[in-house]
């Protein structure tokens, strides 16, 4: 059955594979947070037409696909992750014609479009939930997770919301509780109900017929909850000051074995169309993460690998995590790497400006599909948000312990004009303090900037397939350096990254014959390397052997 055929775009590049490899194995993905990328209509919030305007930017930078965080109709209690209509565009972002134009123009620019798919929960304003809530006898009652009060009153069990408090909300009218893993305005859909599964498959098909090239699936490891609603056990390692939901181990609310069955169905749905990518958002340790490739690779194509988001930034830790990840991959499973996203503190703030360049070189030279978070190519930093400008419901519900995500969602810094070229009016979140200097227009002119480092590395990736699809072989050294080879056919590249701010010397015994292709400081290109090399602090080199 190929419903897709009539709808598949004719453009040649789209169906072209890289040899027999799926396109995403050699692609670089760029995450666009649409509220903060480009405002085209002067309301201080970014929109679809803004993204369309900026399409040449993606081409110039050298990325292959954009993943756009949710743009669907939503009351915006959780900035689009609370969807009230899965197959419509929210007016704040534009309309369906704007969307169609964005897809068509993206494809004309050779840029693929990946949408955010949010299947775990809808908005409480979604007609499905309104109907489900209307009565216990409603035909859609079982589309959500309803539970009777505990025998002694109160919620059905001890499950907690990620955003604080009980995950159960009482519905006076029908006398039952509904489950919400996140906000109470985000009721969880019941993925044990085949009708829900079918409805969501239709959502995927709707967008694929419009030509989208794939989906990033929000909180995919949450989809199935324990059918018996068993209490989660207390977490013996919980400490005060941590997010309150961490007081319990989410044993019966996340990563249940049955989740792989519904993911396999989603994967098959996506495979009804050709060349579509399915990415899963999964925060789990590597042993559990890799299960999401599915039995016989029937799961998501890329289970997001967030290991770099939380690692202690030194060579030994990073070396170990790369080896553990590479070692755990199932046969045929393609790796991927992420340095930042709309939920986590900016990399430049986490490791400092000097190391941000080294981190960029790491991201773009490891084996696996990289995803760049918008603004990281400028070294954008986590922005302190004054109390009266906080917008994130997580920070509002659980204030003061640093869980707020507004700081990594501030507007893109395009140029030195008013509001950094993002908007003609005051943006929805404050700008970072450094936008007058650290913006695309300025950094593009500075050959040594982090923007130009991204630019050069992305070009090199396109030119040298060893960087995208070549093998990865580490060389463990005693120094605080990351050293690894990327090899394909006759090409061998040597990567040497200094994870410290002090100069370090690496010796080669026997001597090598190499030439620097890219250096983080942009001042050593062409340098010959033989028996040793000195790296300055915060320096990384791509060396061709």
């Amino acid at each position: 059955m190929h419903l897709s055929r009539a709808f598949v775009r004719k453009a040649k590049w789209l169906t072209a594979m890289t040899g027999t490899r799926p396109w995403w194995e050699s692609a670089v993905i760029y995450q666009v947070y649409p509220r903060s990328f480009q405002d085209s209509d002067g309301n201080g919030v970014g929109d679809l037409n803004g993204i369309t305007e900026r399409l040449p930017y993606f081409v110039e930078l050298g990325v292959d696909a954009i993943w756009i965080s949710p743009v669907f109709r939503s009351p915006m209690m959780d900035f689009g992750y609370d969807i009230s209509d899965y197959i419509d565009i929210d007016p704040v972002f534009g309309n369906m014609a704007d969307f169609d134009r964005l897809v068509a123009k993206s494809h004309a620019h050779g840029i693929r479009v990946i949408l955010d798919f949010v299947p775990n929960h809808s908005s409480d304003q979604h007609p499905w939930f309104i109907e489900s809530r209307s009565s216990r006898a409603s035909l859609k009652r079982d589309w959500y997770i309803w539970g009777d009060p505990a025998p002694a009153g109160g919620p059905p069990n001890n499950w907690l919301s990620e955003f604080g408090g009980s995950a159960w909300e009482f519905d006076e009218a029908s006398g039952q509780y509904y489950y919400h893993a996140f906000l109470k305005s985000q009721p969880d859909l019941n993925w044990r109900n085949p009708e829900v599964v079918e409805a969501m498959r239709d959502v995927l098909r709707f967008w694929m017929r419009k030509g989208v090239d794939g989906f990033r699936v929000d909180v995919i490891w949450h989809l199935i909850k324990d059918a018996a609603l068993r209490d989660n056990p207390p977490n013996p390692n919980y400490q005060r000051g941590k997010p309150p939901n961490e007081a319990l181990i989410p044993l019966y609310t996340t990563d249940l074995p049955e989740v792989h069955d519904v993911i396999a169905i989603l994967c098959r749905t996506v495979d009804e169309f050709s060349n579509r990518l399915l990415i899963g958002e999964i925060y789990l340790p590597v042993e559990r993460l890799i299960a999401y490739y599915g039995r016989d690779l029937g799961g998501v194509h890329l289970p997001f690998n967030f290991a770099l988001l939380g690692v202690r930034w030194d060579a030994k830790c990073i070396q170990a995590l790369i080896a553990e990840y590479e070692g755990a991959l199932p046969k045929g499973g393609w790796p991927n790497w992420v340095l930042g996203n709309h939920d986590r503190p900016r990399i430049a703030s986490r490791v400092g400006k000097g190391q941000a360049a080294v981190a960029a070189m790491l991201l773009l030279t490891l084996r696996g599909t990289p995803t760049i978070y918008y603004g990281d190519e400028l070294g954008m930093r986590q922005v302190d948000i004054p109390g009266d400008r906080v917008r994130d419901p997580f920070e509002r519900n659980v204030p003061g312990i640093g869980v707020g995500r507004d700081g990594c969602r501030t507007p893109m810094q395009w140029d030195a004009s008013e509001n950094a070229g993002f908007s003609k009016v005051d943006p929805w979140l404050p700008m970072a303090g450094d936008w007058r200097s650290d913006n695309v227009a300025n950094l593009r002119e500075d050959a040594t900037s982090i923007w130009n480092l991204h630019h050069r590395l992305l070009r090199l990736r396109k030119k040298v397939p060893a960087l995208s699809i070549g093998s990865y072989r580490p060389r463990f050294v005693d120094e605080d350096l990351l050293v690894y080879f990327r090899e394909l056919d006759d090409t061998t590249l040597l990567l040497v990254l200094n994870l410290t701010s002090q100069a370090q010397i690496l010796s080669f015994e026997p001597a090598i014959r190499g030439k620097v292709l890219v250096s983080t400081g942009a001042d050593r290109d062409g340098e010959r390397v033989a028996d040793s090399i000195t790296l300055r602090g915060d320096e990384g080199l791509v060396i061709e052997l």
């Binding site: 013996p236 042993e287 039995r295 030994k316 170990a320 070692g327």
Partner: protein
């Protein structure tokens, strides 16, 4: 060819999944009962103590290796998989043990050690000779590294490189444990078949299953990739553990080997396959298997490895039970020949609580001989150390002799274990012995016995 016949001595209750309701009792023959005064327990000694096992009420005995062995590693270095070591007795003695246990309604599980042999095994002797003999590819051989040293950085669990040079072949062989324990090459189908044959040899003699030794390490990375250093390692880390065994432990391909072993076993009826696995709860499900069955019971040491308080136990038990796949059966092990005695960790008073927890929780309980009387770690003077691990990696409390000391049956000098000099010192705590606790109605032993009986009655 294997036979599908059931042993004529099968215990009466021979339902397929008998192990769900049985208590399994691990016996290291060398420390259980000596019959000939050489200070080492043996099969005739075990035969004398079957009444005790029946009195206690256990459903199965797991016997640690009794095969011919130079005994460099507690018998886990086997020179002939299909014979009995003369120190333990004869094949005839073995047959008597099987019959007597079955008559007492107790099943017998043997240790299966498929990962490696002794370097004295005929297979290895032949494999060593040249690069092109019929057994040349039966072990893990590799060329020297670039500088003439070992092929990569893999370490032996017992310290030092995991690679040993063989001059005759001018190649290295890999040993996960001692250099005298070369690893078999499980990528070679002939090796699988040979191990299958040894399984059939014992199954045909009436044994009721196997405990698979080191099942997680059967296959090593075929690219021989270096293991990464553990960033958390410091001076207190035993040297063999400074690397994370990414490419030597728990490789995805190891699962096929376990499936093969299970396939051999499943040609017989009512046999149990349990096994030593990678310890992470997150990995348990893989060892049970999904489309193809693997182990009936991947041994679960979570009760031993958890901090002893209610909240930690609750979290661990819940996490474990949840990780056991639907339709699969859990198990709880509280001791073993590689684990410090639990009584030394939680104290005698809490041992009674542990007994009640272990015997009332859902899952097959595994006891290590002596746990039922609260045996503690026995201090071993340096000149009496037997364990190679302690000799090779000193000072990290890794030695396993303290939990392997002979079982104390009474309060005499030699504890009723032997009339000679015991191979390891007897526990100095003479009052903690089986006879005394049999007499004392309120003893830990009698609590265990009552709980086991209750468990049988209310299965």
């Amino acid at each position: 060819m294997s036979t599908n016949e059931k042993s004529e001595h099968s215990p009466a209750t021979s339902d397929e999944a008998w192990w769900r309701s049985a208590v399994v009792y691990e016996i290291p023959a060398i420390s259980f009962q000596d019959s000939d005064g050489d200070g080492q327990g043996d099969l005739p000694g075990l035969l004398q103590r079957i009444d005790y096992l029946k009195w206690l009420g256990i459903g199965a005995v797991w016997l640690t290796p009794i095969y011919r062995s130079p005994n460099q590693d507690f018998g886990y270095d086997i020179a002939d998989f299909c014979s009995v070591d003369p120190r333990a007795g004869t094949l005839e003695d073995f047959d008597k043990v099987v019959k007597a246990l079955h008559n007492a309604g107790i099943r017998l599980i043997l240790d299966l050690v498929p990962n490696h042999t002794s370097d004295q095994h005929a297979w290895f002797r032949q494999s060593c000779v040249s690069r092109n003999n019929p057994k040349a590819d039966w072990y893990v051989w590799a060329e020297a590294g670039a500088n003439g040293g070992p092929p990569n950085n893999w370490l032996s669990r017992f310290g030092g490189s995991g690679w040993e040079w063989c001059e005759a072949r001018r190649q290295f062989y890999y040993h996960s444990f001692l250099p005298s324990q070369p690893d078999l090459n499980w990528r070679n189908p002939e090796v699988r078949e040979a191990i299958g044959d040894t399984m059939r040899f014992w199954l045909d003699r009436g044994v009721d299953g196997f405990r698979v030794d080191a099942s997680a390490v059967l296959i090593k990375d075929d690219l021989l990739r270096d293991n990464p250093r553990d960033p958390e390692a410091d001076d207190k880390t035993p040297p063999p553990q400074v690397y994370i065994p990414v490419f030597t432990d728990d490789r995805p391909e190891a699962m096929e080997c376990i499936e093969y072993i299970r396939g051999v076993l499943d040609r017989y009826e009512g046999k149990l396959l349990c096994g030593e696995v990678q310890g992470k709860i997150d990995r348990i499900g893989h060892f049970y298997g999904s489309s193809k069955p693997r182990l009936h019971l991947p041994l679960n040491f979570a009760l031993l490895d958890t901090e002893w308080n209610a909240i930690s136990l609750q979290a661990t038990i819940d996490a474990y039970l949840n990780a056991v796949p639907n339709g699969a059966w859990p198990n709880f092990v509280i001791g073993g020949h590689d684990k410090h005695r639990v009584a030394s960790k939680i104290g005698q008073a809490q041992m009674r609580i542990l007994a009640m927890l272990q015997m009332t929780i859902r899952g097959t309980p595994f006891l290590f001989a002596g746990d039922e009387i609260g045996s503690e770690q026995v201090p071993i003077p340096p000149d009496r150390v037997q364990d190679s691990f302690e000799k090779l990696v000193k000072g990290f409390d890794l030695g396993r002799d303290p939990e392997r000391a002979p079982l104390r049956w009474d309060d005499t000098d030699r504890g009723g274990f032997t009339c000679g000099e015991p191979w390891l010192p007897m526990s100095p705590d003479r009052s903690r012995n089986i006879m005394a606790q049999q007499r004392d109605e309120r003893s830990l032993l009698n609590l265990y016995r009552e709980l086991i009986a209750l468990r049988r009655r209310l299965a």
